[in-house]
Amino acid sequence: MKKSNFKKMLVLVLSFAMVLAFTACGGGGGGDEGGSGGSGDGKSITLFNSKSEIQEDFENLAKVYEEQTGVHVEVYYSQDTVSAHLATKYASKAPYTINMVDAKDIYSLGKQYGADMSDMAWVGDTDYAISVDDKVLGFPTCIECRGILYNEAAIKGALGEDFDPASIKTLDDFKAMCDKLVAAGMDAPTAILGPDWSLAAHYLQQVYEEREDPEAFVQSLYKGEADLMSDAKFNALMDTFDVLKEYNQFKTQGSNAEDELVHQAMSEGKDAFQFGGCWEWNDLLTYDYNGPVGIMPVPQNLEDDYTGKLVGGGAKYFYVDGSEYTSEADQEAGKAFLEWLASSDEGKTFVSDTCGMVSPFKSNTVPCTNDIGKVVKEYVDAGLLVPNYDYDPDDHYSKLGIEMKKYLDNACTREELAKAIQDYWASTTPVEH
């Protein structure tokens, strides 16, 4: 009896599977062209977005675009590493029509696959487009800057007086301010984010960027000629880092401090200063935001041409796939979408208002809704930016991130850090660009 039951079950389950398989066949759309690439006729294109926080807004924008132009833009995101994800798209010969990548990827991916956008109207409207071999390949989505975030409300709450970021010119000023805050009852007024991208790609990176000729300096590092311990910029920035460490709210956890807690402390005003940038805005908003939060240059006891300037520039670049896998019509449709993103009212509102990003386009006068972005915009308009250096080797941030973490956790001395950085560069093959 038991056996026949089992047989009935088997027959039932099998027939169910068959039915499902047929449904799957019918509803699955089959294997059309085998990819997410466009339709080929320029009526339907794909876009890869690597900023997860604006994914939903981007999908909404795509709907607006379809209503206006009839061109369908499908917006994708992946939790896998961007380079790994795009590698699989190219391996299956079905790349996205428009791809959002970091600036340095434009010099590799964009150079190999990007379509030339030199004749597009938006090119004249921005100072941040990326060109390789006289071809414009990279479309900047926004401007991102790095510096010290400060929470005005927290400082005012502790000291009872308005905070003027312009009063902090040198490290000594900064330290005096921290001492004042401690005296007023704020135990630990600073915080440091622990991830390698923040410590190495954002903080350490300033050592290369804040000088006359970053390229020459990096070349001297490759050759093993640079001596960081006698370098004024390196020491000035590390002196500041030491002060940030001294007043660090998350001192015990060091590089293991959780990003969420660091962001929450800044958002709710539990501390006053944190090294970071304007992209953290969306994150700050998820807590009980008590601001405004602004951004100021990293204070250093070294007066030079870079004092009073933020480090940053264009970020999150789009390139249009110009390879054989994307039809001419789709390429044109992709370029048209970018043009629309830069010049239409909807596109401008999307960037500055909906997403709270700082627009890299001069014609965009829509006010930025991001408190940090507003401050960044002032620096941009006043021309007080130190440009990014975009030619780091791919393993730079993770390998030197490890060294910076050690320094943050007092697991190595400054001499050891300097030596580790020099050794890294000297043993690395120079990046061609």
């Binding site: 939790q79 590493t81 380079s83 790994a84 795009l86 590698a87 190219y90 590799s108 991916l109 190999q112 696959y113 001192k251 015990t252 956890q253 060091g254 590089s255 293991n256 959780e258 390879s323 080797p393 791919d394 393993d395 993770s398 490890i402 973490k405 050690k406 956790d409 697991a411």
Partner: protein, 292 residues
Amino acid sequence: MKRNTLSYKVKQYLMFGGVGTALFCAVVIVPFIYGIYLTFTSWDGVSPNKPFVGIANYVAAFADHDYWLAMGRTVIYSVFSVVLINVLAFALAYLVTSGVKGQNFFRAGFFIPNLIGGIVLGYVWKFVFNRAFVAIGTAIAGHDVPSLLASPNGAMFCLILASVWQYAGYMMLIYVAGFMSVSDSLKEAAMIDGCTPSQAMRNVTIPLMRSSFVQCIFLSITRCFVVYDVNLSLTKGDPYGQSIMAAMHVYNTAFTYKNYGMGQAEALILFIVCAVIGITQVMVGKKGEVEA
């Protein structure tokens, strides 16, 4: 009917094993062979050109100090995890088949960790180690204490604990099936013959469950050797890259550092090491298997 001719055997094989073997070859073997070819190129993963470089990637892989460090770490991690997973899984399986009240309920509970995967698992454990343990430690010590995840040994301990927690319930399933398939009449017969329960366990049940042991140990070795998800979501290689396991190193080399050919070569070496250990274990284990 001639049962021993080659054509009869091939026909039999194709009838029963044809579909399975074909799918297996198509999905695993073909890409794997193509992957081996890629180890002889200096491909970056996306470029249309795949320059042939001979064995340069293997030379580089053997000289890659970080890779061998990661491999050493993986071995240590695997030894601890495999032993603990199997001891715990066997004990759990024994407890939940011994006829205690609510054993189905317990089985479901031990199985639950398998339903939480990837980033949530990492997030939950990270919270446990970084916040709950720290809060308890701080209360005991009277001052702030650093998290276990902040020291290399601590991070390793956390990884092992999370893995044991995740896989013990999974392996328990296989041991439970093993316990259930040893017929009660055999056990009863042994008891009638004068065996104590523990003797019956040692002399009847365990030998008959040999295939379960072989399977569980093999599965846990292979899972541990190629651990990636938990590694990524729980430690990301921190502190100071000292919890980077071999699979994570391979992934970084191939995709983050865009050195696809070399990453693939390192993965192949990892595969060979793991395959040798795993297959030896299975062959030794299978030899002593009791046939029904």
